[in-house]
């Protein structure tokens, strides 16, 4: 199996196998490195972008969060889901429905993420009775049922969705300007990323990858395979809901498209392009996807066609995605091939 997550990397780097090229980087803990990356992204975006490009960048960062969350289920645990839009949409519509209550923006995010997480847990408690393709089919059905409910239940506003959602004010600072909302978004995604990064090497993260690689072996070692799958789905749903909630605050409207199966498919494509089992891959894939989609929007070309082709190339040539390929290239350059002694 190709995706490799190295749970002991920090330990191994100090051992005899430690690389010389990344010695300096190796001293900085991964969570601090993650924070630094987002700090650079945040400052660079704030300084260099404005107007529609900053709006686009904010969208890309929100999708990056969505993809990072999805990769926990898809990449770490190996559960293929085509219903992730259900959680994105649940977060979005929760914020929209709560808008009249005038909640502070952060509280609205917590509510959106919470509703999505609850939905994810309920769904997975039922759906993890099956695995593989059967599970994937259930995610598709689940997503479509919720999507149709948006049109059937009048409170969800039907085709028009729920418009007029204010961005609100945080610490006395209005989020109305795109610059302020950019900082707000990057700060939240940065903090959440540190949590994900940390979880990746936690007992839970190691357990999820064990379940993915060999469920029978994992069970024989004492891992509760079903509980691991349920919690992976729950956390992916939580983060999907958070992304959806941010998305609605950015857009000012919750429209039914956020819950369509197209969005579910797109987030899977983002993960695959970037490298589903790597940490940064899904985020890189999401940014690339968002930017390329946007630049093709004004042309007559259909972005789907390009993404279809791009995905084909990645799956065939770079099974670990762009991030996996980058890691490999770095390892080769550093004259080190881990594990092939």
């Amino acid at each position: 199996m190709s995706p490799v997550i190295a749970p002991t990397r920090p330990a191994a780097a100090t051992g005899p196998g430690g690389s010389t090229g990344s010695r300096l980087v190796g001293r900085v803990p991964p969570s601090v490195r993650t924070l630094l990356v987002w700090l650079v992204v945040g400052v660079a975006g704030y300084a260099a972008l404005g107007g529609s490009t900053l709006f686009l960048a904010t969208t890309a960062v929100i999708y990056a969060l969505f993809a990072l969350g999805t990769s926990i289920q898809l990449g770490w645990t190996g559960m293929v889901s085509f219903g992730q839009a259900a959680y994105f949409g649940a977060g979005a519509y929760t914020v929209a429905l709560l808008a009249p209550a005038g909640l502070p923006p952060l509280l609205a995010l917590v509510a959106g993420a919470g509703v999505a997480a609850l939905l994810g847990l309920l769904f997975s408690v039922a759906a993890t009775r099956v695995t593989g393709v059967e599970f994937t089919m259930l995610t598709l059905v689940f997503g479509q049922i919720l999507f149709l409910l948006l049109y059937r239940v009048p409170a969800f506003g039907g085709e028009n969705g729920l418009p007029g959602i204010p961005r609100g004010t945080i610490f006395g600072q209005s989020l109305f300007s795109d610059g302020a909302f950019w900082v707000y978004t990057v700060a939240i995604v940065a903090i959440v990323s540190v949590g994900i990064r940390r979880a990746r090497h936690s007992s839970w993260g190691v357990g999820l990858t064990a379940v993915r690689d060999d469920p029978r072996r994992a069970a024989a070692l004492g891992l509760d395979v079903r509980m691991m799958r349920i919690t992976a789905t729950g956390v992916a749903a939580l983060l999907g809901g958070l992304a959806g909630a941010l998305f609605v605050q950015l857009q000012g409207i919750a429209s039914p498209e956020v819950m369509s199966w197209v969005v579910s498919g797109e987030v899977v494509i983002m993960c695959l392009i970037g490298g589903v089992a790597t940490f940064w891959g899904p985020a890189v894939g999401a940014v690339l996807f968002t930017v390329v989609s946007w630049s093709l929007m004004d042309t007559s070309a259909t972005p789907e066609l390009y993404f279809g082709l791009g995905l084909l190339i990645v799956v065939l040539l770079l099974p670990e995605g762009l991030a996996g390929a980058a890691t490999k290239a770095r390892d080769v350059l550093a004259g080190r091939r881990r594990g092939t002694s």
């Binding site: 191994a12 936690s202 190691v206 064990a210 004492g222 891992l223 594990g339």
Partner: protein, 255 residues
């Protein structure tokens, strides 16, 4: 016998897979510090009985007790958490990970800490110490950074044994621990099993094996099965001398 020392007790196990029962009313027990081998020709039901003990199969009749608690309906996971570690006939591990990483996973899975989101494994104190110590003790230190799928047959079995021992089990269940091994590897494994027993005097071991040399050199007691039933049970010498053994293994044992 006093119940105090009994680690595993299987009573009246019956198990069929649709057809005639593979095991028909087998019983045996293992006390702390004891090594019991289940032997018998192909189709005797030893693998099924082993699977019932490990939680792989649920028996149609009979009960399995582990340290005084009835575990008959417990999943393999729950049994593992309670202190039953096992190996598989075909060594089972995480092939795309290094030997060290496999041990980290085994350590992580021990004792049900799998919902801890924040503790970083591998670099964490006790985990790292335990893993490094086990690598050393099991003779895997030089292979620590090798991908498990690249290991030779004997080392694969050794890795699996190391993963099981890292969990500090009360009961070690070994399914054909020397199957497919070279003569040298078999000798090393036997030595290793003896050393493990020396270091863990309370550890109970149940193993199935074809190789009579292995069985007679590591076992305190031997359970001979034939056609789903326990035919003879006793010390290696007693079982070796029993007429049933002669009958079942006639021409196949040359000692």
């Amino acid at each position: 016998m006093s119940d105090q020392g009994v680690v595993l007790r299987a009573t009246g196990i019956v198990k069929s897979f649709g057809g005639p029962p593979a095991v028909r009313g087998a019983s045996f027990e293992v006390t702390a510090g004891e090594t019991v081998s289940i032997i018998g020709p192909n189709g005797a039901g030893k693998s099924t009985l082993f699977g019932v003990c490990a939680g792989e199969h649920r028996p149609d009749e009979g009960a399995v007790e582990f340290r005084g608690r009835t575990v008959t309906r417990w999943s393999a996971t729950r049994r593992a958490r309670a202190g039953m570690s096992r190996t598989f006939q075909v060594a089972s591990f995480f092939g795309s990970r290094t030997v060290r990483e496999n041990l980290v996973v085994a350590h992580t899975a021990t004792g049900g800490t799998s919902l801890a989101f924040w503790d970083v494994r591998g670099s964490a104190g006790t985990c790292r110490q335990d893993v490094e110590a086990t690598l050393e003790r099991m003779g895997l230190a030089t292979l620590a950074d090798t991908l498990a799928e690249n290991l030779a047959q004997g080392d694969r079995k050794r890795l699996e044994l190391a993963m099981a021992m890292l969990q500090q089990p009360r009961l070690l269940l070994l399914d054909e621990p020397t199957a497919g091994m070279s003569v040298d590897d078999i000798r090393r494994t036997v030595d290793q099993l003896r050393r493990i027993k020396g270091e863990n005097p309370e550890l109970a071991v149940v193993l199935t094996a074809h190789d009579m040399d292995v069985v007679f050199s590591v076992s305190d007691r031997v359970v001979l099965m034939g056609q789903g039933e326990v035919l003879v049970e006793g010390t290696p010498a007693e079982v070796e001398a029993a007429p049933e053994t002669r009958e079942l293994y006639l021409g196949t044992v040359d000692r």
